[in-house]
């Protein structure tokens, strides 16, 4: 649905995006993560045919950037970094204006559908200037969807929203995912990316990593099983380390942390060994690395 090859953008001497190569499948929710100034907005603008590309190529929804820009604009919807709504006119007119510009057939129907879906129908006649930040963001999302785009770009959909509004927007995006839409989402919120996205690209001018959230975690740290014991004894470490596929085992307070390849297979054996050695096991669990750990490690890696 989105294919890029060596996509590059320079602003004069500033290199905003360098050699980005991606292939995003239909129905995929793709998370684009990176620090401030990484070039996320620049990438989205290129993919929506808002700004030209310096080199490389890309196609979005089957249309080639630079050659079929109007078609790209037809088939994409974008939630821009700032909602950018017309304050003086009503929510309904804001939406119908965009529906007109996108040649939507059933304008009234589409406008009503999205205003209702985002809970703005009751306030449709009020000027947008009177709306709260959360309502504006929702209206901007409705605007990005009103022409049923094939690909939806969301540039930081929940930043600057309070937790409740952010939650609302997030569950709305989850709903869109259920409908099978292709979504390209820039975000700083790692937890959000972890929960919503099928794959994540970590990006700082270039792509640093690209995989599913779980695979990213595994790749960088392996997986870790935690045994909570009544009393932890250091001699058990030796026993556990002899098991095949275990990379590391250590004691922290009365817990034993074991890093291993395949916990589903190896955990039963580890439990057996511990019980045989006389350990009183209280809980067994998995230590989940947060995406934040991975993100920080990649973004601050010294090689850049």
């Amino acid at each position: 649905m989105i294919v890029t090859e060596n996509l590059t953008k320079h602003y004069g001497s500033v290199k905003a995006v360098e050699g980005l190569t991606l292939n995003i499948a239909p129905g995929e929710v793709f998370g684009f993560l990176g620090p401030n100034g990484a070039g996320k907005t620049t990438t989205v603008r290129m993919l929506c045919a808002l700004i030209g590309i310096t080199s490389g190529r890309a196609s979005v929804a089957g249309c080639e950037l630079g050659r079929q820009d109007q078609d790209v604009r037809h088939r994409t919807g974008i939630l821009t970094e700032a909602p950018g709504l017309y304050d003086q006119i009503s929510a309904e007119r804001n939406l119908s204006l965009y529906a007109h510009l996108h040649d939507v057939e059933d304008i009234a129907g589409q406008v009503e559908r999205y205003l209702r879906m985002l809970g703005l129908w009751d306030r449709r006649n009020e000027p947008v200037g009177t709306f709260s930040k959360g309502m504006r963001q929702k209206l901007a999302i409705a605007r990005a969807l009103v022409h049923e785009p094939k690909v939806l770009f969301l540039d930081e959909p929940t930043s600057a929203l309070d937790p409740e509004a952010a939650h609302l927007v997030r569950s709305f995006i989850a709903g869109l995912k259920q409908e099978g839409r292709t979504i390209f989402m820039c975000t700083h919120n790692l937890d959000e990316a972890d929960r919503l996205c099928d794959r994540i690209g970590i990006f700082r001018t270039r792509l640093l990593a690209l995989d599913t959230p779980a695979a990213l975690r595994r790749k960088l740290y392996g997986r870790t099983t935690v045994f909570h014991l009544l009393h932890a004894k250091s001699e058990w470490i030796q026993i556990l380390q002899e098991v095949d596929g275990v990379h590391d085992a250590r004691v922290v307070d009365n817990r034993v942390l074991v890093t291993l390849d395949d916990p589903e297979k190896q955990n039963p054996e580890l439990v057996r060994k511990l019980v045989q050695s006389g350990a009183d096991i209280q809980f067994v669990g998995e230590l989940r690395r947060t995406l934040e750990d991975i993100y920080l490690q990649l973004v601050h890696s010294p090689e850049d």
Binding site: Y11, L50, P83, I89, H100
Partner: protein, 263 residues
Amino acid sequence: MRKVWIIIRKEWSEVFKNRFVLFTVAFLPLILTAIPIVILYVMQSGGDLDAVGMADMPVDMGGLCAGMSGGECTQYFMVSQFMLLFMMIPLVIPVTIASYSIVGEKTTRTLEPLLATPISTLQLLAGKGLAAVIPAVLATWGGFGIFTLATRLLAAGPNIVARLGDLLWLLAIFVVGPLMSVAAVCVAVMVSSRVNDPRAAEQLSMLVIIPLLAVFFGRIAGYFMINERLILWTAGALVVINAGLLALAIQLFQRDTILTRWK
């Protein structure tokens, strides 16, 4: 064409809510129409104009005043002076509206989602341009209509009333006025694509009134006179200038530049 109209309607509902714009668009024509009416009124009631002989008039008025009495010619002279200032309307209004409608969209960050729609640059420019030109032209024509009516009501000499229906005035109001509006919009668009503050854009674009002021003062100083020939030449020149300005404005108004040029 439908998209152009949609943009025009949107511009009007947004831009006329702005107090600066509304003030300029409403008050300028009012004042510029009222001044010559007041002058006519004062001259009419104030003194024995017929005592003024033709010999007292600027020499070059002689030709234009053919068939008028000295008093009428004085009135006509004053009126024609002010009509030059009246021509500020088709310059100032489009500059104000276009400055706010383009740079205003940059500051409210509404330009990006707008440019993300499949509207063509030409449609967008046409919408924004017409949204600025139409009110200007209507205000010019309306002001002229009111003025013509007032000269009648004030019972200014019938010769003067008749003169306002001359080819000279009709050309000025109905041909040169709209052409000037188009030129003003092009300048405002060019400035707006480079400037990021609506008021700065407005002030910079206002430089378009300099040629008009030059004509005004040149007229007062007696360097040349306003006659049909001059108006026709002006109209012709404006057509050529507009073609150039339009091409330049479209060239400068590119999505890429407009979105990414911040200084």
